[in-house]
């Protein structure tokens, strides 16, 4: 008896299967893990979908995440903010708009700078994963090319943002698999541009035309436009001209006659004939909605006032500061008779305002009625056909082909109700870009690439300091003493990242 007991005791290990590694191998039952993912076409399809997602965060900016309009538009003479002295914790936005970023040893603690950087690298990591694994899995060539093309475009787009915001950044081209691979040294700008050009050039033949692609995804046209943009930054005018002319010749795009109808509504007019690439939002509870419009509304605003902009069934009052408010400078930049002015900018009077006339301009381009408060579906334009035409005009003009250049410029002017351009054509193109593409996060990049950023912003700062009330400061309020003290063409790198990287 006792022997059998002990034998049972010893055997139970084997019989229960309890001592072996099988007993100890427990994989997550309710979550996918990397071991089983990336094995079939649908996995890569889902992976590329997820690679678009950070673009929503970047263009929308909810809370401290993202901030293309903070870094690209409000960081220029096009827009400013409505100072609300009763409301604290606004330095993060003000420091960018005021050119007063706290900076030490080439890094800044600003959250918007940090989130822009991180979101771009999120796109890069997701696309690296796809590009690393997709050729190891067999599936249909059309689908595979399409996914690869999208991934290459998105990676290039993210690096293009990074290189223009920061200059030198780390260049990750393969997925990070452990901690030691996480930080890379800063790469030279030229190397990053070379990689962008390589990626987009590879993407162009892989991607279908817009008419053949699912609406909202990147296309061969979008890729050509991205590459043309890169060449324009590099002043490779002939290369840009070739690509832009291919877009025109593709007959995939045309101008919408009424400028007001160019921009998507909350539920419709998305990816229309003029749209080359736009960031996709979806109104409703799926978690894909935007709320950028709400950041652009001057405050404090009552429910009765806000409903005139948003048209929702459940308007809520907003306090705090309003951002991305058109400056007097951009308002003055529209020529008399420019139809785009009233389509881009409107005014609202706020009963609770501490400003003398209580009236503020706001961006009207995106102010489309929608169903629910703080939840809208307007897409964000990245590239439009009118910019294709303006780039083409610029590329031609810079090569001395001013006659041909003017024809493309005038197509855009004609739609705006304006006559042919006069005076210096280069200046005319710059001016046209400013008003045509106002509030589309183009202004800061344009100022930098054309070498005018320091001069223009310094003058702009002086105007604000000389007349704060014209720039929406309440009576008696002045800009902070350190406003416009840190005007540079590149943003400092994020301090939180510097703290974790041995390389900067």
């Amino acid at each position: 008896m006792k022997k059998s007991y002990i034998i049972t005791l010893l055997l139970s290990c084997g019989l229960l299967g309890s001592c072996g590694d099988d007993f100890l191998s427990i994989v997550p039952e309710t979550q996918l893990s990397s071991a089983t993912f990336f094995t079939k076409e649908a996995d890569f399809q889902q992976a590329v979908n997820a690679a678009y997602v950070p673009l929503r965060t970047i263009t929308n900016n909810s809370g401290t995440a993202g901030g293309a309009w903070i870094l690209g538009e409000q960081h220029s003479d096009n827009t400013y903010y409505v100072r609300n002295p009763l409301f604290g914790a606004t330095e993060q936005e003000e420091d960018v708009a005021d050119f007063a970023l706290p900076e030490a040893n080439g890094v800044t603690s600003n959250e918007h700078v940090r989130e822009q950087y991180r979101q771009d690298y999120l796109i890069i990591a997701r696309t690296n994963q796809i590009l690393d694994l997709i050729d190891k899995v067999e599936f249909g060539a059309d689908s595979k090319n399409n996914i690869k093309g999208q991934a290459l475009f998105l990676r290039a787009y993210a690096y293009f943002e990074l290189v223009r915001y920061f200059g030198k950044v780390p260049l990750h081209l393969t997925p990070v698999t452990n901690r030691s691979e996480a930080a890379l040294p800063l790469s030279e700008e030229a190397d990053i541009y070379n990689q962008i050009i390589k990626d987009v050039s590879e993407a162009i033949p892989l991607l279908p035309l817009k008419s053949k692609q699912e609406a909202g995804r990147v296309t061969s046209g979008a890729a050509r436009m991205l590459l043309a943009n890169v060449y324009i930054v590099q002043k490779k005018w002939a290369e840009a001209e070739k690509l832009l002319k291919e877009i025109v010749a593709s007959n995939e795009y045309s101008l919408i006659q009424n400028y007001e109808n160019v921009f998507s509504t909350s539920t419709g007019n998305k990816n229309n004939q003029e749209s080359v690439f736009e960031v996709q939002f979806l109104e409703g509870s799926a978690g894909l909605s935007g709320n950028f419009l709400y950041h652009f509304i001057p405050r404090d605003i009552t429910a009765a006032e806000i409903v005139t902009i948003t048209g929702t069934t459940n308007p809520q009052p907003l306090s705090g500061e309003g951002y991305n408010i058109p400056t007097p400078d951009i308002i003055a930049a529209y020529e008399p008779g420019d139809l785009r002015k009233d389509a881009s900018i409107a005014y609202i009077t706020l009963s609770n305002s501490s400003r003398l006339n209580k009236t503020y301009p706001y961006i009207k381009k995106y102010a489309k009625p929608h169903a629910l408060n703080n939840n809208h579906g307007m897409n964000w334009p990245v590239y439009r056909y009118s910019e294709v035409l303006l780039f083409l005009a610029e590329a031609l003009n810079e090569q001395g082909k001013s006659g041909e250049a003017a024809t493309f410029l005038n197509q855009v002017r004609k739609r705006a109700g304006l006559g042919e351009a006069s005076g210096d054509l280069r200046e005319a193109i710059y001016k046209e870009r400013r008003v045509e593409l106002a509030f589309e996060n183009k202004r800061w990049f344009d100022l930098v690439r054309t070498g005018r950023a320091i001069d223009v912003i310094t003058a702009y700062g002086n105007r604000i300091k000389a007349n704060p009330q014209a720039y929406y400061y309440p009576e008696g309020r002045t800009p902070r003493p350190h406003a416009f003290s840190n005007i540079k063409v590149f943003y400092p790198l994020p301090a939180d990242e510097a703290a974790l990287s041995p390389h900067f």
Binding site: M1, K2, Y5, I6, L9, S18, C19, D21, F23, L24, I26, P28, T30, L32, S33, S34, F37, D43, Q46, A47, N49, A50, A51, V53, P85, G88, A89, P102, N105, Y121, L122, R126, Q129, V169, H172, N178, R179, A182, A215, G216, T267, K270, Q280, L282, S285, A286, G287, T302, S319, G320, N352, R480, P481, H482, A495, E497, A498, A499, L500, S501
Partner: protein, 1031 residues
């Protein structure tokens, strides 16, 4: 290859078992002696060892105390021994029937200590083990056993972070802290390491508690032992006795006025606002123009949430140990209503422990303990916006709680020009109308079969099962909300979440104990165990109810997809263990143990961990040369070293997970998206703690004074940490075993019977000093920032980190000559120290002016208990305290927001107004708005820190015992007690200096960011009357 090697090394564990098998030899017998062994009352004692002296010839008594033994020749001496009784030797002298009466060994009874996988005489224990018997703590009127232990045990810091009934106890043994793994000790109930915490356990079921502190005591629990082990033994019958007792207490609880945060009342608040606008040179909004109008119209929102609440408890205990059956039955009902409105905690519990001695070789037993807990707790605790107590604190006192009709208001908001930036709901409604309840059913059971093939060998196999089911229900009706800025009526939301946990454990143990040549005492333990845990979770969130009275799932118009989900969590643990105990004459003591754990949580390259330990003891007082020191009746020196682990690293942390809900929209359609959201680490393993302990136990004046001292030094390495990686990688963190933390400390405990005789007075006191230092973090990382903390190599971890407040800029001269925050500092604003000496004040990055500014850990913790009895009266007073720790008064970022957007602490009346009227220096000027006031409010500095040293009189009890009243009542006792009687502290940040909230966020692990006072649920003072009757 590595795996094979590991497996090979495991085989040696089988050795002890084989040895034990070999040791079971048979032997021939003739010449029969029989008889009965009884106790002094004449009841038969089963299981008594009867041994022919100097031989291995022996037997044990059967269930009624009878024995029979073959003794060749009929001569020699019988040695009759039984745990708890004095060993007796009887000469045989050719008798054939020998009846023996054993006298109880009172001293030995007291001194048996439950240790891991067995028990030991206290005298022979070589590890750092402290015991608490249920008797000592029976009068403490609280819901949880850990509350009862406050102040009792050296080296164990037990804090009540929140006063919520049934919740919020933090137990830290020897300051052990894991960076991100759990830091709670392992609770083992009747040999079963439970998974559900011990909140569900009725304290009245407990007989005694052993707290294992050093690695030699805990190493047999291997990869779960690093935080220390608490062994709980539940009640059993006393040999030969049947006892029935009933205990009951009832009382009331209330929050003392002392310690509450002193806030502005309505008049003072309106005055502040009036002065604020005047100082700004702005028109004063109408509501503030005449503060006197609020005279008698104050709304104390915090007080409105509190009430005086009852507490009651009833227990019936029946124990019996007769005729082979030992049974204990405990039935309990406990109800504590909270001092916050609509808060109730109820527990119904039962336990039946039964041991059945089948024969002298076989014993079986079954413990079964079901319980049911109902708990409804309003969302009281949390930061601004989440905890209604914090929310209530800063709500404007001019906002009415009741409207003109005496109804509770729905919500309050004032025009934006008054500076009111939030809509405040009525917090009384938030407490009363929101449902936030848990219904927990719990079943804890152990079954065992014990077989004694030969006298010295015990084989024991156990099956333990723990079932835990929690039905959580939350309902937010349309009429109330616990959040700021939600207008009423709001969208009604319901959440149902069911957790179902199942744990089973099988243990197979063999214990062989043998004494050779009288003086060499050996015990060898070997065994293997398997444990598996699984939890299934389902959550359904619905909203938009047409009718608040029907909060069903189908009643909601919308099912919230993000809030509706299910999950499974599972782990498995397989272990081999062995221990050798040897002592020579009970004087030289030696113990060695080893456990090997294989865990599903560890990465595939690192599946098995081995945890050895060894300890020695020397009972110096047994040496001849000590006989001259007659005052010192007992002295023992102990030393131990061992390795333990912490496997609280999450179940699937080693895997890279794919999130497949990162969706996108194309052409107006939702399309699914997926991305890898974490990095895999197949090397991931347990945290390792190597601990050295040296200690001594002294008994003076015939044990009138007993003294214990321990010094420990331990090093924890391979800490599980989600190491931040630069997000250029596309990931924020990498789960890895990193770093090294050194802990050391001293523990002293003394028990003194100060007077004996009619007045008996006993004092127990203990004091502990715990220290730690970070030796290393991850490669390339020498510091980890939290929002308010830093963990830095060379410093204790989780230190408060921020700027040093010098005061305020008192005038233009001061401002001009002092370092400033560029563009922000003004006269009257906060003046901070320029630590880096660059002439300006900066906050952020590695090169700024922040430095370590405080320590959330105490210099020492202590406890003192005095018990007095005089005749039939007894009196006890228990206190516990901590000294030298600081708390971050987190609510000040709202309640001292000088922009006047919230109600404020009373002390802002003494703020800076002008160089001529500078106030008391704590609070700066209101002028300049957020650009100026934001520095004081938003930048972490010494402004927010306060010394939180305290000493709390935890309990005072006065009792009176009636003797045997008649033949039914053996005894009865009545008593009155005050729990949380008084808190001695200079801390002004809130009512509970024991609190320690932590914030979640970037770089904030729970343990890296301790010592934050979020103004949690206050701990009430409780007055109770109780009665114990024994039948």
């Amino acid at each position: 290859m590595k795996n094979k090697l590991l497996q090979k090394t495991r085989y040696w564990y089988i050795l002890p078992l084989v040895l034990l098998l070999l040791a079971t030899g048979a032997h021939a017998q003739n010449g029969n002696i029989k008889g009965k062994v009884t106790d002094e009352q004449g009841a038969g004692l089963p299981g008594v060892t009867v041994l022919l002296k100097g031989t291995t010839n022996g037997t044990a008594t059967d269930g009624t105390g009878n024995y029979s033994l073959n003794v060749p020749g009929g001569s020699g001496t019988l040695v009759v021994s039984f745990i708890g009784y004095q060993t007796k030797e009887v000469a045989i002298n050719n008798q054939s029937t020998i009846n023996i009466t054993l006298a109880p060994d009172a001293k030995a009874l007291e001194e048996v200590v439950v240790v891991g996988y067995g028990s030991q005489l206290k005298k022979e224990v070589t590890g750092a083990v402290q015991t608490v018997s249920a008797k000592e703590i029976k009068d403490i009127p609280v819901s949880q056993i850990t509350q009862k232990l406050q102040g009792r045990v050296a080296g164990v810091q037990i804090n009540q972070a929140t006063g919520k009934p049934g919740q919020g106890m933090s137990v830290r043994i020897r300051g052990q802290l894991s960076v991100s793994g759990g830091s709670d000790p392992l609770y083992v109930v009747d040999g079963f390491p439970i998974t559900g915490g011990i909140g569900a356990l009725n304290p009245d079921e407990i007989e005694d508690i052993s707290i294992l502190k050093d690695a030699a005591s805990t190493a047999l629990y291997g990869s779960r032992a690093a935080n220390g082990v608490v062994l709980i033994t539940t009640k059993r019958g006393k040999m030969g006795q049947t006892n029935v007792s009933v205990s009951a207490f009832g009382g009331v609880q209330q929050v003392p006025e002392k310690g509450r945060i002193d806030m502005l009342d309505a008049v003072e608040f309106a005055t502040f606002k009036k002065e604020y606008y005047e100082a700004e040179g702005k028109p004063v909004p109408e509501v503030f123009q005449n503060p006197a109008q609020y005279e008698g119209k104050n709304n104390d929102w915090y007080d409105a949430l509190l009430r005086t609440a009852p507490i009651q408890s009833y227990n019936l205990t029946v124990t019996s140990n007769k005729d082979r059956v030992n049974t204990a039955l405990v039935l309990g009902v406990f109800e504590q209503q909270g001092v916050v409105l609509n808060n109730k905690y109820q527990r119904f519990s039962g336990r039946l422990n039964t041991d059945y001695t089948v024969s002298d070789k076989v014993k079986v037993g079954l413990n079964i303990a079901p319980s049911y807990i109902f708990d409804n707790t309003p969302r009281t605790d949390g930061d601004r916006g989440t905890g209604i107590l914090f929310n209530a604190l800063h709500t404007w006192p001019i906002m009415p709680i009741y409207d003109a009709n005496g109804e509770l208001t729905k919500s309050n908001t004032l025009p934006a020009n008054t500076g009111n930036i939030y809509t405040y709901p009525n917090w009384v409604r938030a407490a009363e109308e929101l449902v936030n309840e848990n219904k927990i059913t719990n079943l804890l059971s152990n079954a065992y079969l014990e077989y004694r093939p030969i006298k010295d060998l015990v084989l024991k196999s156990t099956i333990n099962i723990e079932l835990y089911n929690n039905k959580f229900f939350f309902f937010n009706p349309s009429t109330a909300t616990s959040s700021i800025n939600v207008t009423i009526p709001t969208t009604a939301v319901s959440i149902r979440e069911n957790f179902s946990n199942t744990t089973w454990l099988n243990e197979n143990l063999a214990t062989y104990s043998k004494t050779f040549n009288e003086d060499h005492n050996f015990e060898l333990l070997g065994g293997f165990t398997n444990q598996r845990f699984r939890t299934d979770r389902t959550r359904i969130q619905a909203d938009t109810y047409a009718d608040d009275r029907l909060p069903t799932v189908q009643g909601g118009l919308n099912i919230n997809r993000g809030g509706t989900n299910s999950g499974v969590d599972e782990w498995a643990l397989t272990s081999l263990l062995s221990r050798l105990t040897y002592n020579y004459k009970g004087k030289y003591l030696f113990t060695a143990s080893i456990r090997s754990d294989g865990s599903s949580r560890f990465g595939s390259n690192n599946r098995w961990g081995t945890f050895p330990s060894a300890s020695v003891g020397w009972v110096v007082s047994d040496e001849n040369f000590m006989q001259n020191f007659s005052k010192l009746n007992f002295a023992k020196l102990r030393a131990s070293y061992g390795v333990t682990g912490n496997n609280n690293i999450g179940n699937y942390t080693q895997y890279a997970l794919v999130n497949n809900t990162i969706n996108a929209a194309f052409g107006g359609n939702v399309v699914p998206g997926a991305a890898v959201t974490s990095l895999a680490n197949s090397n991931l393993g347990w945290e390792t703690t190597k601990q050295f302990d040296i200690g001594m136990d002294l008994g003076l004046f015939e044990d009138r004074v007993q003294f214990m001292y321990d010094y420990y030094n331990k090093t924890t390495t391979n800490l599980l940490y989600s190491v931040q990686v630069p997000q250029e990688a596309g990931f924020g963190n990498f789960n890895d075993n990193i770093g090294e933390i050194n802990f050391w400390g001293h523990e002293f405990a003394v028990t003194s019977r100060n007077t004996e005789g009619k007045l008996k007075w006993t004092t127990n006191a203990n004091i502990s000093f715990n220290r730690n230092k970070v030796v290393a973090l991850a490669e390339g990382i020498n510091r980890v920032y939290g929002t308010y903390h830093i963990t830095r190599v060379g410093e204790p971890f989780g230190q408060f980190y921020g700027l040093i407040k010098e005061g305020l800029y008192m005038n233009e001269e001061d401002l001009r000559t002092s370092p400033q925050v560029p563009g922000r500092s003004t006269v009257g604003s906060i003046k901070l120290r320029d630590v880096n000496g660059d002439g300006i004040i900066t906050n952020g990055g590695d090169q700024d002016d922040r430095t370590i500014i405080g320590n959330p850990f105490p210099d020492f913790t202590y406890g003192i208990t005095n018990n007095l009895s005089y005749g039939k009266f007894d009196f006890s007073i228990v206190g516990s305290g901590a000294h030298g720790n600081e708390l971050l008064v987190r609510h000040l970022y709202s309640t001292a927001n000088l922009d006047g957007v919230f109600n404020m602490v009373d002390a802002v009346k003494y703020r800076f107004r002008s160089p001529e009227n500078p106030g008391k220096g704590k609070f700066g000027t209101t002028v300049g708005g957020g650009n100026v006031t934001g520095i004081e409010r938003d930048w972490m500095s010494t402004h927010f820190l306060e010394d939180a040293s305290y000493f709390t009189i935890k309990n005072i009890t006065l009792g009176y015992t009636f003797g045997a009243v008649n033949r039914f009542f053996k005894s009865a006792r009545i008593y009155g007690s005050v729990q949380q009687a008084y808190v001695f502290t200079k801390y002004t940040g809130g009512p509970n200096p024991e609190t320690s909230g932590n914030t979640a966020g970037n770089g904030d692990g729970g343990n890296l960011s301790q010592g934050i006072d979020l103004s949690n649920y206050p701990v009430p003072r409780t007055f109770t009357l109780g009665v114990n009757v024994n039948f």
